[in-house]
C-alpha cells in the first residue's frame, strides 16, 4: 500500500494568506490570496474502485459533503451506463435542497450577519459581542431551526446529517417514508417564513448601505451556472451556461464536454488552480460561480417566490449582470428560498414515495463526468477507469476554485482602496475578510485540530521587505 505523507503538519489546519505588494510610492500594486492547502484527493483515489467515490469524496468537506456525494454518484452513473429512475432523481435533488438550505442559511445567519450589521471599522472587541443574533435574539433560534431543518432532510434520506449514505451508482439505496415526507412538509411553511425574514433583514441593510454595496469590490467578469432548457435555474442537473461581462450568452454546453470549454491556469503562489473559459483564454476568460454567478446566468427561477426576488435582483443590474461582491448575500438568500420551494414541490410529487430507485446498468465504460451546482458553485467530478473499474484518473473542479480569480480580484480592489501607508489596520483586515467571505470559500472543512484556521495578511515593500503583518 502506498502512503503519502504531507508535511508540515500544520497543513492539516491549513491557512489563507494574503500578501500585499507595494510599489515605489507605497501604494498597493498587487495583492495575492494564497491557498496553502493541498488535500490530494485526486491523487490518492487513483487505484480505488470507482464505486467508492460516492463515500470517499464527501470527506473533502464537512459542510457540503452532499454535493460531492451526488456529483460522484452522477459520474458513476455515467461510468456504468445507468440512468437513475425519476423517483431516485427526485430523492437526490431533495437531499441537495436540504444541503442548500443548511449551507446557505448558515452562511447568512452565522457568517455574513456581522458584516451586514456592523461597520467594518468597528472595534474588534465590539464585533466579538455584537452580532446579528444579539441584535435580534429570536432570530438566533430561527436560524438554528432553519439550518437544522436542512440537516434533517439529509439525515432522513441518508441516515446521517454529515457524510450521508444514500446515492449509489445508478440510483439511491433507500426510499422516503410517508412519515418522513409528512414531517418535512409540516415544517415548510415555518421555514419559508424564516428565509423571508432573512431576506427582509438583508434588504433593510442594502437600503441603508447602497453606496457600499454598489462600490465594494465591484468588477466585471463572466458568470457560469447550470440552466434548464428554458434558461431556468437548475441546481441538480442541466446544461452549463456561460455569459460574458455584459450578460450575453457565450456558451451553453453539456457538462460532459467541460474540458473543451474550461481550462485551468496554475500560479506558483497558490495550490488552488484558476479555471477559465478556454475560447477567451487566460485571464480574459475568467468567470464567477455560486449564487451571484447562477443568478446572473439564468433567465428565470421556476418557483414563484424566488422568481419574484430574482426579478428584483435583476433590476439591480439595469440589464447587465450584478457585479458587486456584496450582492452574493442577497443572491444566496434567493436561492435559499428557491431550495425550500423546490423541496416542497418534490415532496408533493407522488413519485417521491416510489420504490423504483435503481436504474439498469448497461456496462462499464472507461470515463464518466458528473456535474452539479454545489452551494458555492459548479462542481465537476471526472473519473477514468481501467477494465476492472479501478480509477486511473480523477479530476475535481470545485466551486472555490472557479472563484479563485474573483476572490483575488476582490481582495486586491479592497486593498488598493483601503491600504495607505505602511501599517495594516483591523478595519482593513475586516474588509479583506468580508470580501473573501462573500464568496463563501471552503478551504479546510474535513480535518481540524484545536485552534482556528488563521488568516494572515503581509505587506511587502517594492524592495521585498516585510513591512507589517496582521494575523487573526
Amino acid at each position: 500500500m502506498q502512503k503519502i505523507t504531507i508535511e508540515p503538519v500544520t497543513r492539516i489546519e491549513g491557512h489563507a494568506k494574503v500578501t500585499l505588494h507595494l510599489n515605489g510610492k507605497g501604494k498597493v500594486e498587487k495583492a495575492y490570496l494564497h491557498i496553502n492547502e493541498w488535500r490530494g484527493f485526486e491523487k490518492f483515489t487513483e487505484g480505488r474502485p470507482y464505486f467508492e467515490m460516492v463515500q470517499i469524496t464527501p470527506r473533502i468537506c464537512g459542510i457540503c459533503p452532499v454535493s460531492h456525494h451526488l456529483c460522484a454518484a452522477k459520474a458513476c452513473d455515467a461510468l456504468i451506463g445507468a440512468t437513475p429512475p425519476r423517483p431516485a432523481k427526485l430523492l437526490r435533488e431533495l437531499m441537495h435542497m436540504g444541503q442548500f438550505i443548511q449551507s446557505h442559511s448558515m452562511h447568512f445567519f452565522e457568517l455574513a450577519g456581522p458584516d451586514l450589521l456592523l461597520g467594518f471599522d468597528a472595534d474588534p472587541t465590539i464585533r466579538n459581542v455584537v452580532g446579528l443574533a444579539q441584535a435580534n435574539p429570536d432570530l438566533t433560534l430561527k436560524a438554528v431551526r432553519l439550518r437544522a431543518f436542512g440537516q434533517e432532510i439529509i439525515r432522513k434520506l441518508g441516515g446521517k446529517r454529515v457524510h450521508p449514505n444514500h446515492s449509489v451508482p445508478g440510483g439511491v439505496n433507500a426510499p422516503l417514508s410517508v412519515k418522513d415526507r409528512d414531517e418535512i412538509l409540516g415544517q415548510i411553511e415555518d421555514m419559508t417564513e424564516i428565509v423571508k425574514t432573512a431576506i427582509g433583514v438583508a434588504k433593510g441593510w442594502y437600503e441603508k448601505n447602497m453606496d457600499l454595496a454598489q462600490n465594494f469590490a465591484v468588477f466585471p467578469s463572466g458568470y457560469m451556472g447550470l440552466v434548464d432548457g428554458e434558461g431556468g435555474l437548475q441546481l441538480y442537473e442541466g446544461q452549463v451556461r456561460l455569459v460574458d461581462r455584459n450578460g450575453k450568452k457565450i456558451e451553453e454546453f453539456d457538462p460532459r464536454n467541460y474540458l473543451e470549454h474550461i481550462g485551468e491556469h496554475v500560479e506558483d503562489w497558490s495550490y488552488l488552480k484558476f479555471p477559465f473559459y478556454r475560447k477567451m483564454g487566460w485571464p480574459k476568460g475568467v468567470y464567477r460561480v455560486g449564487p451571484l454567478g447562477r443568478l446572473n446566468v439564468v433567465d428565470k427561477i421556476n418557483t414563484p417566490m424566488a422568481n419574484e426576488e430574482l426579478n428584483q435582483f435583476k433590476a439591480l443590474g439595469n440589464g447587465k449582470p450584478v457585479e458587486g461582491t456584496l450582492w452574493y448575500h442577497y443572491a444566496r438568500l434567493i436561492e435559499d428560498l428557491y431550495a425550500i420551494e423546490r423541496a416542497q414541490e418534490i415532496l408533493l410529487d407522488p413519485d417521491v414515495l416510489s420504490t423504483d430507485l435503481m436504474g439498469n446498468a448497461s456496462g462499464l465504460v472507461s470515463e464518466g463526468v458528473g456535474c452539479i451546482e454545489a452551494p458555492r458553485g459548479t462542481l465537476f467530478h471526472h473519473y477514468r477507469t481501467d477494465a476492472n473499474g479501478m480509477l486511473t484518473h480523477v479530476n475535481l473542479i470545485v466551486a472555490t476554485g472557479h472563484n479563485n480569480w474573483a476572490m483575488n480580484t476582490a481582495v486586491e480592489m479592497v486593498a488598493k482602496a483601503h491600504v495607505d501607508g505602511k501599517k495594516l489596520t483591523e478595519g482593513m483586515l475586516n474588509r479583506v475578510e468580508a470580501a473573501i467571505r462573500a464568496y463563501d470559500p471552503c478551504l479546510s472543512c474535513s480535518t481540524h485540530a484545536i485552534g482556528a484556521m488563521p488568516i494572515v495578511i503581509e505587506m511587502i515593500s517594492a524592495e521585498g521587505v516585510l513591512l507589517d503583518r496582521l494575523a487573526r
Binding site: V9, I12, I63, L141, V144, R147, I436, T447, I455
Partner: protein, 159 residues
C-alpha cells in the same frame, strides 16, 4: 427538561488522534450503561439525561439548541504539539467570532449561541488532549490513549 452535563467530542475520527473525543465519549457512555458510538455515529438521537456524551465531526450551529438544554457542557478535542500540555482543561466564556474561510464554529461561539437561546449562562470547559498522529486512519496512538485516560479523570471531576 434540563439535563446535567453534555460532553461533546469533536474531530475527524478517521485521522487517528484527532478522534480522541470519540474514545473519551465512548468510555463515558459505557460508564452510564449506554451503547458506544461507531465512528459514523453522533449519539444525538439517544440523549438521556445525567451525563450525555456525543461525538461530532465539527461544531455546527444546530448544536446550539442541544447545548442550550444543559447546565454544563464539556468540549473534548485534540491539540497539536504547539500546546505543551499533554492534557489541557480550560474554562470557556462565550465569544462571537467567525472566520472568513472556515465554516465550523469555535466552542466559544457555539456556547454564545446556546446562551442566546437558553437565556442564561452555561458552565463550559474545553478539555484538549495532545495528539501525535493526525494521518489517515482509525484508532489512537498509545501515547494519546494514555493521555485520554488522564483527560477522562479530569472530565469526571468536572461533572
Amino acid at each position: 427538561m434540563d439535563r446535567c452535563v453534555l460532553v461533546i467530542g469533536y474531530g475527524n475520527v478517521y485521522c487517528h488522534d484527532d478522534g480522541v473525543g470519540l474514545h473519551i465519549v465512548n468510555v463515558l457512555r459505557r460508564l452510564k450503561g449506554g451503547k458506544p458510538l461507531q465512528p459514523d455515529e453522533d449519539g444525538l438521537d439517544d440523549l438521556g439525561g445525567g451525563i450525555d456524551a456525543i461525538m461530532v465531526h465539527q461544531l455546527v450551529p444546530e448544536l446550539a439548541s442541544v447545548v442550550a438544554r444543559y447546565d454544563q457542557v464539556i468540549f473534548v478535542d485534540a491539540h497539536l504539539g504547539h500546546i505543551e500540555d499533554e492534557v489541557r482543561v480550560v474554562p470557556l466564556k462565550k465569544a462571537y467570532r467567525f472566520h472568513a474561510v472556515t465554516h465550523h464554529l469555535s466552542p466559544e461561539t457555539l456556547l454564545w449561541m446556546a446562551e442566546q437561546i437558553k437565556g442564561t449562562e452555561i458552565k463550559a470547559y474545553l478539555v484538549s488532549v495532545k495528539g501525535d498522529d493526525f494521518d489517515f486512519g482509525l484508532g489512537l496512538t498509545d501515547r494519546c490513549a494514555a493521555r485520554a485516560d488522564v483527560a477522562l479523570e479530569r472530565i469526571l471531576d468536572l461533572c
